[in-house]
C-alpha cells in the first residue's frame, strides 16, 4: 500500500459524509448552480449598456469579474468544511480513534485537506463552467481563456490558504464554536483580498493579478506548512491538558520572560535578579541567538536605502531640490522644527507596535516592508540631492546621522524581532508548539524592548534637540 492510500481512504469517507448530508450538500449544490446563473444574467443585461457608455474594452472587464465572483462562492464552503473536519472532529471526540490509526500526522493532514478541498474546488470549477456557458448563451460573449486560468488559479490557492489557516485555527480552538469565532482572522483578510481582486479586474489590471495569485500561492504554501506543524498528535492531545485559559497563557508567557534565552546559564548568572540578568545575560544572548534575522534586516535596510537612492537619481525632476531647500529654509527660519521629544518617541514606539502586530498576520513581511520604508525614502531624497548636484553624504550626515546612531540600530533590532514574531507561527523552534513559539517570540520582543526604549529615547532626544541645530549649521551656516 502506498502512502497515498491511507489519505485517500480518509478523504473518501469525509467527502462521502459531507455529500450525503443534505444540510451541507443542498446549499452547496443550489448556490453553485444558481449563483453563477444570476451573475451571468446580470452581466448579460449590463453588457450592452456598458458597451454603449464605456465601449467594448471596458465592458469586457466585467466578464472576469463575474467569473471570479461565481467561482468564489463554492470556494467559501471550504472554510466551513475545514472547521468541521478539524475542530468538529476534535469537538465530537471522533479524532482520537483516527490518531490511533497507523497513518502518520502528514497522511492524516493530507487526507483531511483533500477531503475539504475536493468538493469546493470541484464546485468552483462547475460554477465557472456554468457562468461561462450562461454568458455565452445570454450575451454571446466568451470569457477570455486567460481569465479562466487566472480565476481557476486564484480560487484554488485561496481555498488552500483558507483550509490551511482553518487547520491552524482549529488546533487552537477547543470547540467548533470557538473555531468559528477565530475564523474571523481568515474571513477578514480574505474579504480584503477579494475587494483587491475585484478592483484589479474592473480596472483591467489582469497582469497585476498574476503576481497576486503567485503571492496567494506563496501564503498558501506557508499556511500549509504551518498547518502541518500544528496538526500533529502531540499538539492536539496536549491541548486537552493545557486547555486555552488566559491564566495558562499568562503563566506560560511569564515563564518565557523569566527564563534565560540560552541554557546552560553560567554560574552566578542564574542568581541575579531578573532586571540585572536581563541586561548582563539575556539581551546579549538574544542578540547572539538572533544574529541571522538581525543581519537579514540590516542588509535589507541597506538595500532599501540603495534602491531609494537609485530611484531618486533616476526620477530627478531637477527642481525638487529647489523645493526642498525652500521648504527647509522656511521651516528653519520660522523657529525650531516642531517635533518634540515625546512626539518622536511616541511615533517610533507606535511604529514598532504596529509593525509587530502586522508581522503576525503577514508572516514577518510587515516587519521588513514597514521598517524599510523610511530607508527607501531617505535614499530617495539623497538620490534627488545627488542628481541636483548636492552632496548626498552631507545630507545623510546632517539629517540622519546624529539621531540615526541610536535610531538605526534600534530599528534593525525591532525589525529583526518583529520578523521572528511573524515567523513564529510557521517555523516554531524545535520542541515548541506553535502557541509556545508565538509566546516566546512575544517574550523576546518584550525583553528587547528594554534595549529599544533607551535607544529610541536617546534618538528622540537628539532628533528633537540636536539634529535641527546640525541641519541649520550645515545648510544655513548656523
Amino acid at each position: 500500500m502506498t502512502s497515498l492510500q491511507g489519505p485517500l481512504v480518509l478523504a473518501r469517507r469525509e467527502v462521502r459524509d459531507a455529500l450525503t448530508d443534505w444540510r451541507i450538500s443542498l446549499p452547496m449544490g443550489l448556490l453553485t448552480a444558481i449563483f453563477p446563473l444570476l451573475v451571468a444574467f446580470g452581466v448579460a443585461w449590463g453588457l450592452p449598456i456598458l458597451d454603449r457608455l464605456e465601449g467594448r474594452e471596458v465592458s469586457a472587464r466585467v466578464l472576469p469579474f463575474g467569473l471570479m465572483v461565481s467561482a468564489f462562492v463554492p470556494i467559501s464552503f471550504s472554510l466551513v468544511l475545514a472547521l468541521e473536519s478539524f475542530a468538529g472532529e476534535k469537538d465530537r471526540n471522533t479524532l482520537e480513534p483516527l490518531l490511533t490509526s497507523p497513518l502518520s500526522d502528514g497522511e492524516l493532514f493530507l487526507g483531511k485537506m483533500a477531503a475539504v478541498l475536493l468538493p469546493p474546488v470541484t464546485l468552483s470549477l462547475a460554477a465557472m463552467a456554468i457562468f461561462t456557458l450562461a454568458v455565452r448563451a445570454g450575451a454571446g460573449r466568451d470569457v477570455p481563456a486567460e481569465a479562466l486560468v487566472l480565476v481557476g488559479l486564484l480560487s484554488v490557492t485561496e481555498a488552500v490558504a483558507m483550509v490551511a489557516a482553518a487547520v491552524v485555527v482549529s488546533t487552537h480552538a477547543p470547540t467548533v464554536r470557538a473555531a468559528n469565532i477565530l475564523a474571523s482572522f481568515i474571513i477578514l483578510p480574505m474579504a480584503a483580498l477579494l475587494q483587491l481582486e475585484s478592483v484589479l479586474f474592473l480596472m483591467g489590471q489582469t497582469r497585476v493579478l498574476w503576481p497576486v495569485a503567485a503571492g496567494i500561492a506563496g501564503i498558501a504554501a506557508i499556511l500549509v506548512r504551518t498547518g502541518m506543524r500544528a496538526f500533529n498528535r502531540e499538539e492536539i492531545i496536549a491541548r486537552e491538558y493545557r486547555g486555552l485559559s488566559i491564566r495558562n497563557l499568562v503563566r506560560t508567557f511569564w515563564s518565557f520572560v523569566a527564563s534565560p534565552p540560552a541554557e546552560p546559564v553560567p554560574a552566578g548568572v542564574g542568581r541575579l535578579p531578573l532586571p540585572v540578568r536581563l541586561y548582563v545575560y539575556d539581551l546579549p544572548q538574544l542578540l547572539r541567538l538572533n544574529r541571522t534575522p538581525i543581519l537579514v534586516v540590516a542588509g535589507l535596510f541597506v538595500a532599501g536605502l540603495a534602491a531609494g537612492y537609485l530611484l531618486g537619481v533616476q526620477t530627478n525632476r531637477g527642481d525638487n531640490w529647489v523645493h526642498l531647500r525652500t521648504a527647509l529654509e522656511a521651516g528653519v527660519a520660522s523657529g525650531p522644527i516642531q517635533l518634540s521629544f515625546g512626539a518622536i518617541l511616541f511615533h517610533n514606539l507606535r511604529a514598532v507596535a504596529v509593525t509587530a502586530l502586522l508581522s503576525l498576520f503577514s508572516f514577518g513581511a510587515a516587519a521588513l516592508l514597514l521598517l524599510m520604508a523610511p530607508f527607501v525614502l531617505t535614499g530617495f531624497i539623497a538620490g534627488q540631492l545627488a542628481a541636483g548636484g548636492e552632496d548626498p553624504l552631507l545630507f545623510l550626515a546632517a539629517f540622519i546621522l546624529p539621531h540615526g546612531l541610536f535610531e538605526i540600530p534600534a530599528a534593525i533590532l525591532a525589525g529583526a524581532f518583529c520578523l521572528r514574531l511573524g515567523l513564529a507561527l510557521m517555523a516554531p523552534p524545535a520542541g515548541y508548539t506553535v502557541g509556545q513559539s508565538l509566546l516566546v517570540s512575544i517574550a523576546n520582543l518584550l525583553k528587547v524592548g528594554f534595549l529599544l526604549l533607551p535607544l529610541f529615547m536617546a534618538a528622540a532626544y537628539i532628533e528633537a534637540n540636536l539634529t535641527p541645530q546640525v541641519i541649520r549649521w550645515v545648510y544655513l551656516g548656523g
Binding site: 469517507r13 471522533t94 482520537e96
Partner: protein, 306 residues
C-alpha cells in the same frame, strides 16, 4: 510484549507521568487503577504511539513507540475513553473504514467485521446508523473497532463503563478469551470488580506514579494489613472482649460478633480455648478476605496523606 521504562510526560508545567515502568507479557492482562487524572490514559496514549514521552522509553513487540510509531499503531488496538463514532455511518461501514486505515485486505476485512459483529451480538445493528445506537452498543462498536485489525496488543480505556450488566459480562468474557489467544492487554478502569475478575496483575497509579504493582492476592496481602478475623459467639460480649485480653487489635465489636486483626495464626486456637473456658459459645471463626476496593483506597489514600 509491552515494556515501559521510567516514562515521564510533561504538559506545559504539569507532569502527567513521573516515571512509569511496567511490563506486560503475552497472554497477560494488566489493570491500571487510579483516580481521575492519575495518568492512566496518558500511559496508554504513549504506549499506543499517540503521544511521545518527555523522557523514558517504551516498546511494543520490540518496536520503539517514538521511533517506530506507525508500526506500533499497527500492532496495537486502542479503545479510547470516548467511543468517538461517526454518527452518520453505518456500523459495518464504520468498522470497514477503520480496517482499511489499518490496511487489512478487503476480503479478510469483510469476513472479520462480520465475525466480530456476530461475536458481540451486533449483527442486528450492522446496517444501522451509529447515531441511532444506545451508549452501551456504541461502546461495543468502539471495542470492535479496536479489534478489527486483529492486534497483538490491546489498550482498553474503561471497556464496559457504559454497558448494561449482560453486555459488560459478554465483553469481559471476550477479553478473557483474548488472553487465551496470547494477546497482551492493558485495561484502564474504575471498576474494581472487573479488574479483579480480569487482571493477572494490577498497577495502582496516582499522580503519574505507580504506587503498587502485583497480582491481586499479593496486593491484598501487602496492603490490607494483618489478616482480619470474625468471631461469632453466644454469650456476654464483655466476656468475649475479656478473652481477647488486649492481645489483638479489635476492629469491630457487636452483640454477637467481634472482628479483630492478628498476624499470629496460632493465636486463634488459644482464643477459642480461652472463650470456651469463660463460658462463651463459639459459633464460628473465619478469616474475612479484604476487598480490592479496600486495598485500593488504602494505597491511594496512603499516597494522598504522605
Amino acid at each position: 510484549m509491552v515494556e515501559a521504562f521510567a516514562l515521564t510526560k510533561r504538559f506545559a508545567d504539569f507532569w502527567a507521568l513521573q516515571g512509569i515502568s511496567l511490563k506486560v507479557g503475552p497472554g497477560e492482562i494488566l489493570a491500571l487503577l487510579g483516580p481521575n487524572g492519575a495518568g492512566k490514559t496518558t500511559t496508554i496514549r504513549i504506549l499506543g504511539a499517540v503521544l511521545r514521552p518527555t523522557s523514558g522509553r517504551a516498546t511494543v513487540c520490540g518496536r520503539d513507540v517514538v521511533t517506530d510509531g506507525p508500526a506500533v499503531r499497527t500492532l496495537v488496538g486502542v479503545l479510547t475513553e470516548f467511543p468517538g463514532l461517526y454518527d452518520r455511518m453505518s456500523t459495518r461501514s464504520y468498522l470497514e473504514f477503520f480496517g482499511e486505515l489499518h490496511r487489512v485486505p478487503g476480503p479478510v476485512l469483510r469476513q472479520r467485521v462480520s465475525d466480530l459483529l456476530d461475536c458481540f451480538g451486533l449483527g442486528e445493528v450492522a446496517e444501522r446508523r451509529l447515531g441511532t445506537l444506545s451508549r452501551g452498543v456504541r461502546q461495543k462498536v468502539a471495542l470492535v473497532r479496536a479489534l478489527v485489525h486483529d492486534p497483538r496488543v490491546l489498550f482498553l480505556d474503561e471497556p464496559t463503563s457504559a454497558m448494561d450488566p449482560a453486555g459488560a459480562r459478554q465483553v469481559r468474557e471476550f477479553i478473557a478469551g483474548l488472553r487465551r489467544a496470547d494477546r497482551a492487554i492493558i485495561i484502564c478502569t474504575h471498576n474494581l470488580a472487573e479488574a479483579e475478575f480480569l487482571a493477572d496483575r494490577i498497577a495502582v497509579i496516582s499522580r503519574g506514579r505507580i504506587l503498587a504493582d502485583g497480582r491481586p492476592a499479593e496486593l491484598k496481602r501487602t496492603f490490607a494489613g494483618p489478616p482480619l478475623f470474625e468471631l461469632r459467639f453466644t454469650g456476654p460480649p464483655d466476656a468475649a472482649r475479656e478473652a481477647l485480653n488486649g492481645d489483638v487489635r479489635v476492629v469491630d465489636l457487636g452483640p454477637d460478633y467481634i472482628r479483630y486483626r492478628s498476624e499470629d495464626p496460632g493465636y486463634n486456637p488459644r482464643l477459642v480455648e480461652r472463650l470456651v473456658g469463660l463460658g462463651v459459645g463459639v459459633l464460628s471463626l473465619t478469616e474475612v478476605s479484604p476487598s480490592l476496593e479496600e486495598v485500593y483506597l488504602r494505597i491511594v489514600g496512603g499516597e494522598g496523606s504522605s
